[in-house]
Subunit: 363 residues, 2 copies
């Protein structure tokens, strides 16, 4: 691959809906959910043969950096860019672009969330290659995902006309970004075949995206440039500590993408993608047994039990279920959660309740 | 009370349907299920002010005797009669009758299962007093329970004519014993108002019941008399060890009661009785909260959860439930069981499966 290609893994997020396994100091990307390795490790491994480790960067926060460095020792320590505190994805993307651009003005960066699941790695690499081709023509490329149901938990991207250039996978200009819709809106969008899910994966030249920052968010752009210039110098800590808390807290989608020029979308199909946003997502990425049950870990003995998931904490406990359907059972030792599969989004409410009732040590 | 009155607590049973809390070496009567004390302790305490400890006997097996003695230190050690192994309730009752009759030929014995729940102790004492009065007239008295639903898990007793003598609570001759019926039969029986549940509590003179043994089960009677004569002598171990395994394995109901003479039933109402036969029985004896939930132990945080029961093992774990109804959650540390309330009888099947799959250590 071209030596100007870089991956930037965004690994600063939380993951409240995957509580009680996902915790403040051990969020979902750093824990094994789908397999023996963490989602972050799987994300790094997915880049094998595409980006060499020295061209993989990780943006995260200090309290997560230690465990993430341990989980990916092949990535050079200085490639971990630490946000002093979360300030929205615009700042994360802008920081990475500024730092990369300073090192390599020709850099093309691929933004990847640390906590996504993609089954088909070869197809993913193929599409990344196309995306980088398109980005090299000056496009801001968004990776869309062909929707498989009327999801209300994702943003959508509406495609416009096909790009005038010819690439080795269909690509379109972006007509508009749609934030998380209600179910009826989602159904209507799906009926048109014009919409992809917004995966949060972006591919672009650092120069192009920094120009959009300068045009659309000039104050943020100015501060990020100051930080980028100071990076890897003795002055960095002082400047970062002073400027970071003053950055505008915005998402890259809303702050930049919606009004950006030359935005393209690749409506990727067949990646078998999931953002593992909540416990019920595991039913999409782990093959169940004949009764529809999934045992991520733990011993499981069931009578007349269907479409249920067991996630043990590896201490050898025996899980027994009798006459139940559609349950998510999660055991972390200190917490045992039993949640109806259709209510997986409400795990977040439990975390809020715990925080508001002086039981924050469980969160 | 009359000094010839004795209580005999039958504490040799298992309680497979209350697994995983009830185990082979720690069966249900010895564990706290309804309150802080064990069902056995509650049974003993229920006799306070009625039988002095020295006239309370306990029939059990050796492996349970240690913990039961610890739980009721006020009962003299020699009052624990140890069966070498379970041989049916006929042998248990016959042994207790033979031993008691040797000590006190005028003894009137009250047979009480160790694992029953009775809320109204005063009423229970009142009815026992009546039962002993009736037994003193030579009757074999069965304590019936006024049915509250068409139970298929209990045997029934059909009353006949009122007893000719006058007692201070209604009492009847027994028309017949009915083994556990199917639901339709149970409904029909309830419609007649003639049936009580067979509680397994019996009151009679030891001389009377031993005469029935001699008449109906002469071989068992002969052997029990030999054992009874040897009790408290140096020869006991040898005789018990030799004869006990040869005893006919029979229930007192089938072996004696069904064809006994002068059998009476007191159809007791209002005791708030339960045999705590399975997990769902706890819903009858523990007051639920406004959502119908019961927390026996453990911390519990629920969203939209109804008619469910949580039984923790006291290690401070937090139980969280979201959007579930009618569940029984039992945690013993090594096992976590989630059972639909309507399927509580099937816990036994899990225990059988574990025994048959080399996982007997969980049983």
């Amino acid at each position: 691959m071209n030596q100007h290609n870089y991956a930037v893994i965004m690994a600063g997020g939380g993951g409240t809906r995957l509580w009680p396994v996902s915790r403040r100091n051990r969020p979902k990307q750093s824990i094994p959910l789908v397999s023996e390795e963490s989602l972050f490790q799987t994300t790094v491994r997915r880049l094998d043969g595409f980006f060499p480790p020295e061209r993989i960067f990780v943006v995260t926060v200090a309290e997560q950096a230690i465990i993430l460095r341990e989980q990916a020792p092949e990535i050079p320590g200085e490639n971990f860019l630490l946000e002093p505190q979360p300030r929205g994805t615009a700042s994360v993307v802008g920081l990475a672009a500024a730092v990369l651009n300073r090192r390599d003005p020709q850099a093309v960066m691929t933004i990847l969330p640390a906590d996504h699941y993609i089954r088909d790695r070869d197809l993913f690499h193929y599409i990344l290659r196309v995306a980088i081709d398109i980005a090299s023509q000056g496009y801001l490329v968004t990776l869309g995902i062909a929707p498989t149901f009327a999801a209300t938990g994702y943003g959508y991207i509406q495609r416009g006309a096909p790009l005038p250039e010819t690439f080795s996978y269909p690509a379109y200009s972006v007509s508009r970004f749609q934030e998380k819709p209600d179910e009826e809106t989602a159904r209507k969008m799906l009926a048109t075949s014009e919409y992809s899910w917004n995966s949060g994966m972006f591919i672009w030249q650092t120069g192009r995206i920094l120009a959009e920052f300068a045009r659309q968010m000039p104050e943020l752009s100015l501060k990020l440039n100051q930080i980028g210039q100071a990076w890897d110098t003795p002055a960095c800590d002082e400047i970062l500590g002073r400027l970071w808390p003053t950055l505008q807290n915005e998402t890259i989608d809303y702050g930049i993408m919606e009004k950006a020029e030359k935005v393209a979308v690749i409506p990727a199909a067949g990646l078998d993608w999931s953002d593992i946003g909540s416990w019920d997502a595991l039913f999409d990425v782990i093959m169940p047994n004949k009764d529809g049950n999934i045992v991520v870990s733990g011993q499981f003995l069931s009578l007349d039990t269907h479409n249920s998931l067991v996630y043990g904490n590896g201490d050898g406990r025996l899980f027994v279920t009798i006459g139940v359907d559609d349950l998510i059972l999660v055991d972390t030792g200190d917490v045992l959660m039993v949640c109806h599969k259709d209510r997986a989004q409400e795990v977040r409410r439990v975390v809020d309740t715990l925080k508001n009732s002086m039981r924050e040590h469980y969160t």
